[in-house]
């Protein structure tokens, strides 16, 4: 039986549209690795579909892109997909929430519900982007500095590395980008937004089994 990846990609505002586009390379990598892909794109990123895939497909990796807070992660049009007060079947799943603050409360809750590991942010996930690129997010070299290292969390796990290694590699790439952004060769926009990437480095956390693999 193939391993599987469930990815949520709402796209109803600029933030989620960027995350959605930048998730495509992760999906491609998962296909190359022979994973079954359950791609909840746009309106498909709703609670009904999400619950159904979670319950019946039991994905090995859950990659959440969307808005969030301490207790929730949302899908299309702000619909709640996960909330700390309602148990979901996440047993043996490795979860990465690319959303704000979900590690604060929801992350540990997911571990208590049986998730193997949870990676997320204890505060806001911040990224800078270029106004003139909003219709072509993948051409936005500034957003790349923030979103490529976050993709690395999932692509490292896809390659059967430990989750601790995934976080380590992601943080290392964030730090390399950060150093570039504060260097003399950086653009003004890069230098200006370096403090936001620094915040992501500090706030990315891993809960659960550090040695978990798919």
């Amino acid at each position: 039986m193939n391993k599987s990846l469930l990815v949520t990609r709402p796209n109803d505002d600029c933030t989620t549209n960027y995350l959605s586009f930048w998730s495509l390379s992760v999906i491609d990598e998962a296909k190359r690795k022979g994973f079954d892909i359950y791609d909840l794109f746009a309106k498909k990123a709703n609670r009904k579909d999400f619950d159904s895939y979670l319950r019946f497909q039991k994905p090995d990796i859950l990659f959440l892109n969307g808005h969030g807070n301490e207790k929730t992660v949302t899908g299309f049009a702000g619909e709640t997909l996960l909330i700390s007060s309602k148990k979901k079947p996440v047993k043996n799943t490795i979860i990465y929430a690319r959303s704000c603050s979900a590690a604060t409360i929801l992350g540990s809750k997911l571990i208590s519900w049986g998730a193997k590991a949870f990676i997320g942010y204890i505060r806001e996930f911040i990224f800078g982007y270029t106004q003139s690129k909003i219709t072509r997010p993948l051409e936005d070299s500034l957003a790349r500095l923030f979103l490529e290292p976050s993709n690395l969390v999932v692509t490292t796990i896809l390659k059967s590395h430990k989750v601790s290694e995934a976080v380590e590699r992601s943080k290392e790439m964030m730090y390399q980008n950060f150093k570039k952004m504060i260097s003399a060769t950086a653009t003004y926009k890069e230098r200006y937004s370096a403090s936001w990437l620094w915040s992501n480095i500090k706030n990315q956390v891993l809960y659960g089994d550090m040695d978990a693999v798919v």
Partner: protein, 81 residues
Amino acid sequence: MTAINIYQSLDKSQKEELKKIVLARVQVMPKDLNVSVGGESVNKSELIRHIEKEDKIGEILMLTELEFLQDLAAGAIYAHE
């Protein structure tokens, strides 16, 4: 401790000082640069409004700048070398 709690722990004059510093910095933010934070996509003028109002987004950005400056001063940003 959440971002907002740390911000709330500052006294009134510290908050005012921080606000001044961050507002001065945002004034020189490139116009083509936007930021996604706290569930919103924010441009320069909106960011200024959030900071002036000291609402949730404003507080998050002020705290982010405060932590960055503190880490810069403490040499923490070079600790990864």
